[in-house]
Symmetry: C2
Subunit: 387 residues, 2 copies
């Protein structure tokens, strides 16, 4: 049920003609009861207009609705682009009976062009009429660009539900700005609280995947939660945090599996590093190494490339600490390098998933990262779609 | 004339049977007059045995000769690998009448296996007999692995000559440890002085190229210079520094042009950044972006990908400073993005070289970087050679 799995939310997805294919390209999500919310944005120095405008809106008040368009990213569009984003929010707010600042806007698509405003605003009108508690799947389809399919996830139980949708498959099309997710829940939170739940969940999920190591100008994850009354019940906070992370992890894994040209999902697990930060630096370096990723495409348990990558993980102005004499590297549970020398074992990597573990034997730091492999199709998708 | 272009040096290259192809695989370079030297090594936390042993030798005394073998990298080989490297140096030293510490050893090839010592030592014997002032080209051929051809460069004039050889094309073969260079000169330097010349030259050349962003376990650049008498003439220091940088830049460019599957050499120039360090961070990020590199393969002036990469260049715990509203991006001299908005111009990128310029409009920092593109052949070379 996607982003409307939790009671109290409605959504819609419509075709406004922004995508040349005619596929759905405008999604609207709104809370049917008072909501509170939070969001995490791309940290890229180049930020799209909707990111700038939505950040401003979030600082002013609690969000009650989100407009997403696919096809045009509204990035690198100057002051005019910001006016377009603000106008979209104001237009949706008027239709829904909200203040403009209560609406967030997200865009994904080609970097450079301006939004086709008449089409987009007509799409918002149509979506506002179509809003429904059953509209989650339609909304999830309307935020896609070159994704192979919709990405949705649900978690929770008797006490609450967390539902979400996401899009992203790397930046397949030239100049495509990518990776959006919207998650809703009927777990009641007070204003200001959603951030404390969203931040760690995103850090451990969306911030630990890599298709190509490139960070887009439009990345955004939004959480909308039912607004709590005066005496909020904190009894299920732990369970809610776990369910939120489960939804985020599920969506993040779907993005990697649908990565550009992906044939293998690589799980890189770093254990017993000097610190969590160093574990993350090493996992990231291995996850983004073209040599490790092409080896994965070739189903090659190439521990030499893993060593070379892990040993040169940028951290704190140098490289993250690693001592080959204490290091054990395993592929799918089989140790291939241990304590400074090869074990001589050569596991077969035949599945659509492969697990690379590095046990550094140094401390308590750990990190897990997901990455896709680097295939011919990755190159084809990114080289042949010339502008 | 490669590494023997300068008077006072002899070299040889022989086939010792280490490479399965039977191609030349042992090179020897020696000074015929007293020499001083310096070297720069891979900063990878995983360092090959010859790197460890040669660093120890350099700390003890001035180098007079260099043994290089191709085929086996002697990396990740444990204490036994260090013994092999030390024994190789001692064996060559005995043949040449030097102390063991006066010989440096370099290895390139597959990570993991031990050196075939009987073959290698027999090769050193043969090379010692074959040493000749005309042996530079033979030596340059004997250090290659999967390189398309030998890489040599010469600079200088009436007062002195600088000659060098290099190898490296990325890590084409599984577990290949790569990028070696040996440079010699008859410009007389005192002990301890070579480092001050080599370091800035390498920083501006070999340290500013990227085939795949992966740093090998064996990278090394060695400089041997004629040893100066008591009253060294400093008159041509500036000219020598320039010639040394010219040779290093020439060799570095040859490595990029021979990069795995390379069809285009990308020159990334960052100007007017907040600092040189930030310029370098941005240039490196653009040079290693798979999206920028696949676009180059597709001859696509894809400034959106350049923007997304440049805006997320890791620096000092965050991203290097960049303001899209002050940024100008040009391809081959044509501005495609200027002051926050696209110019609408679309240059054709048809050549085997392409120049991407980013003028940040912030300060005085600048950096130039060379990179190869990302092609089908890159994936084929790195995925199909499975272990």
């Amino acid at each position: 049920m996607s982003v409307t799995a939790a009671p109290g939310f409605a959504a819609a997805g419509v075709s406004a003609g922004i995508r040349p294919s005619g596929k759905p390209d405008v999604a609207l999500v709104r809370a049917l009861v008072p909501a509170v919310g939070s969001a995490m944005w791309t940290t890229n120095r180049v930020q799209a207009a909707p990111v700038t405008v939505s950040q401003r809106h979030l600082e002013a008040t609690e969000p009650q609705a989100v407009v997403v368009n696919a096809g045009v990213a509204n990035a690198a569009t100057g002051p005019g682009g910001e006016e377009d984003a603000a106008r979209t929010a104001a237009h949706a707010a008027a239709r829904l009976g909200h203040e403009p600042e209560e609406v967030l806007v997200l865009s994904t698509g080609v970097i450079g062009p301006r939004l086709p405003m008449p089409k987009l605003l007509a799409g918002v009108d149509e979506a506002a009429v179509a809003l429904s508690p059953d509209g989650g799947p339609a909304a999830a389809s309307a935020i896609l660009t070159t994704d192979a399919g919709a990405k949705t996830a649900v978690a929770g139980g008797e006490r609450f539900t967390v539902g979400g949708m996401a899009k992203g498959a790397g930046m397949i099309h030239p100049r495509l700005a990518t990776m959006l997710a919207v998650v809703t829940t009927d777990y009641a939170l007070a204003p200001g609280e959603p951030d404390a739940f969203l931040r760690p969940a995103v850090e451990r999920t969306f911030n630990r995947i890599s298709v190509d190591g490139d960070c887009s100008t439009n990345d955004a994850v939004v959480l909308l939660a039912r607004r709590a009354g005066d005496a909020r019940d904190h009894g299920a906070d732990g369970a809610f945090a776990a369910a939120l992370e489960e939804v985020c992890a599920d969506l993040a894994r779907q993005i990697v599996a649908d990565g550009e040209g992906a044939t293998v999902v690589l799980e890189i697990v770093v254990r017993r590093a000097s610190s969590d930060d160093e574990a993350r630096a090493i996992a990231l370096r291995v996850a983004t190494s073209p040599l490790v990723k092409t080896a994965a495409f070739g189903h090659d348990p190439n521990w030499g490339r893993v060593l070379a990558a892990a040993g040169s993980a940028p951290w704190n102005g140098g490289f993250a600490k690693l001592d080959p004499d204490r290091l054990r590297v395993s592929f799918d549970g089989t140790a291939v390098f241990d304590g400074g020398t090869p074990t001589g074992l050569t596991p077969t990597l035949e599945g659509a998933e492969a697990r690379i573990e590095l046990d550094l034997g140094l401390g308590d730091g750990s990190c897990a990262y997901l990455a896709s492999d680097l295939s011919y199709d990755y190159v084809r998708l990114n080289a042949e779609y010339t502008t």
